[in-house]
């Protein structure tokens, strides 16, 4: 949690260097929408090691980070390439028969979606546990001893509980923020807010830096206050191949391509070399794709309309 005021604008390089350390628990959140691939790639470039990677849906970003050797453990609820299939780099680190020589199995700690949401909520609300009606007669509690039962104090039996998750750092992408880190977002909200409030440090990555007056014109749109943000990174197209509602489309073609790339360890390494290690930053990544590529991903406009808050003096 940041106590400072004033501009928190940093480069991605500086933000990762300052706030993501070896051994940290890192949550790059965003449910399909607004996943900070730019942050994931910078963590790879800076060669962070022994990270515990938390995310509801590890997605390609964690497949790439696992392939790059950043992770020792995954905390998640759904492990796949949405709409396509498996995360093959992660499978190679979770299926003993697929393990390469010298590699070790990733530690795995898994929940359901509601359970992962509940973990962040408990962390954000400073609760010792979050109660929910999942897990009954599922084998999940048998393999994850952190999923436990709690007795209702109203005599109506037991329900299930998950413990708080307080990442060392949460990295969330959104449409816009001011330089103090007041973040506004629309479209799928995922659990960006809950993960950010649960985390010890927060990096907010946005498509646009706007004047504070833009934020203050629509305060109900703010999901994360600058109060809890440590660094603001201005990173256009920073979510690609994920997407930003109203900004650019999900690059489904790349999600499909990754399936082929990631099935082969050597191809995966080559991809990481070409698109991560050999590039200095996200601007170079965007330039390498070229403007026409992103133009094709740009939707036509669908404006929200404005509402009136009224000026009360």
């Amino acid at each position: 949690m940041s106590g400072a005021t004033g501009s928190k604008l940093r480069s991605m390089r500086d933000a990762i260097a300052a706030h993501v350390h070896d051994g940290d628990t890192v949550a790059i959140e965003g449910f399909t929408h607004c996943i900070s691939f730019a942050a994931g790639h910078e963590i790879i470039r800076q060669k962070r090691r022994n990270l515990t990677l938390a995310r509801m849906t590890p997605d390609l970003v964690y497949d790439q980070m696992v392939a790059a050797g950043c992770a020792k453990k995954l905390i998640f609820s759904w492990l796949g390439n949405p709409g396509v299939g498996s995360l093959h780099a992660i499978r190679r680190r979770t299926e003993p028969a697929a393990l390469a020589a010298g590699e070790t199995l990733l530690e795995v700690e898994e929940y359901s979606h509601h359970g992962m949401v509940g973990r962040y909520v408990a962390g954000a609300h400073r609760l010792p546990f979050y109660p929910l009606r999942s897990y009954s007669e599922s084998d999940l509690p048998n393999v994850n001893p952190l999923i436990r039962q709690v007795e209702s104090p109203y005599g109506d039996g037991k329900i299930w509980a998950v413990p708080p998750l307080n990442p060392d750092v949460a990295i969330i992408h959104a449409q816009r923020a001011d330089e103090e880190g007041n973040v506004q977002m629309w479209g799928l909200l995922g659990c960006q807010k809950e993960a950010a409030f649960a985390a010890k440090r927060v990096i907010a990555v946005v498509e646009k830096i706007v004047p504070t007056s833009v934020v203050r014109a629509d305060p109900n749109r703010t999901i994360i206050p600058g109060l809890i943000v440590d660094a603001v990174v201005h990173e256009p197209y920073g979510a690609h191949p994920s997407y930003v509602q109203g900004g650019y489309d999900r690059d489904n073609a790349f999600y499909r391509e990754w399936d082929a790339i990631s099935r082969d360890a050597a191809a995966t390494d080559a991809w990481l070399k070409e698109w991560v290690y050999d590039l200095p930053d996200r601007a170079a990544y965007v330039a390498k794709f070229g403007a026409a590529y992103f133009k094709n991903l740009t939707p036509t406009s669908a404006p929200s309309g404005a509402v009136d808050y009224g000026d009360y003096r």
């Binding site: 709409g83 509601h114 949401v117 909520v121 084998d139 999940l140 799928l188 995922g190 807010k193």
Partner: protein, 259 residues
């Protein structure tokens, strides 16, 4: 009217699933075949059905078929887009979902499902995606419909891992437990495969209801890992109508990417 190609087995699945949604009100949509089935139902037997996506969308009106469950097209023009906390807490656990669709790598005769691992959990032969929302959909949606292709590898005597509970070890115990523990849902009601449609009998055991055109009883029984209950007279699944096939082929999946 031009000559239509006969229905494929995927099309038979989608049409049978869509028909099972007749009159349903609020449906939790998965990607792929369930998504097409639900959109077909909305255009035929359930025009007032509301589509809910676990990514946080209520009343979606997708302008294209989304590849992923979190595609931007499900947001634009939807009635409400909410956090996942609200979606899972207020809508699903809160008891507002009538039908949830599930699939899986393995199903047993009581409709219990495995989407976690093949083999031993700690040293899996195949690491599957895991629960996602499946475990809580199975518990909280009032009714569960399953769509999956059948084979002796997927329709098994014993699951390697029970991710999502169905009728557990049988209907009586399951109903008692669900009531005692305050589960919101009643468990699976329909299973639609590429070969047939199944319901559940009073013991909570899967029972053949109809066989798709072109499939045989031997084929059906031969691709199931337990002794299937087969009633005396099993009708043929009514063939897709010209209009149902047209909707799938021309409107819902024109590139044939899914069906």
């Amino acid at each position: 009217m031009s000559e239509q190609k006969p229905a494929s087995r995927n099309e038979l699945m989608v049409v049978a699933a869509a028909r099972a949604l007749k009159g349903k009100r609020v449906c939790f949509v998965g990607v792929g075949l369930p998504n097409i089935a639900v959109n077909l139902a909305k255009r035929t037997v359930a025009p007032q059905m509301e589509l809910v996506y676990e990514a946080g969308v209520f009343g979606a009106s997708p302008a294209r078929l989304p590849l992923s469950i979190g595609d931007p097209t499900i947001v634009t023009g939807s009635t409400a887009t909410v956090s996942m906390h609200d979606l899972f807490g207020l809508y699903l656990q809160g008891g507002r979902i009538d039908v949830g669709f599930l699939g899986g790598a393995q199903i047993d005769k009581y409709g219990n499902l495995n989407t976690t691992v093949i083999g031993d959990y700690t040293a899996p032969k195949t690491r599957l995606p895991g629960s996602g929302g499946a475990c809580e959909i199975a518990i909280n949606a009032k009714e569960i419909m399953v769509i999956m292709r059948q084979s002796t590898r997927s329709f098994v005597q014993k699951l390697d891992f029970r991710t999502s509970p169905g009728h557990l070890g049988g209907a009586a115990a399951s109903a008692t437990l669900r009531k005692e523990q305050g589960w919101g849902g009643n468990g699976p009601s329909v299973v639609v495969t590429d070969l047939a449609v199944y319901g559940f009998n009073s013991d909570g055991e899967m029972e053949l209801r109809s066989i798709h055109p072109g499939a045989t009883l031997d084929e059906v029984k031969g691709s199931i890992g337990w002794e299937l209950r087969v009633p005396a007279n099993v009708p043929e699944t009514p063939a897709p109508t010209t209009e149902e096939l047209r909707l799938i082929r021309e409107e819902l999946d024109p590139t044939g990417a899914y069906v």
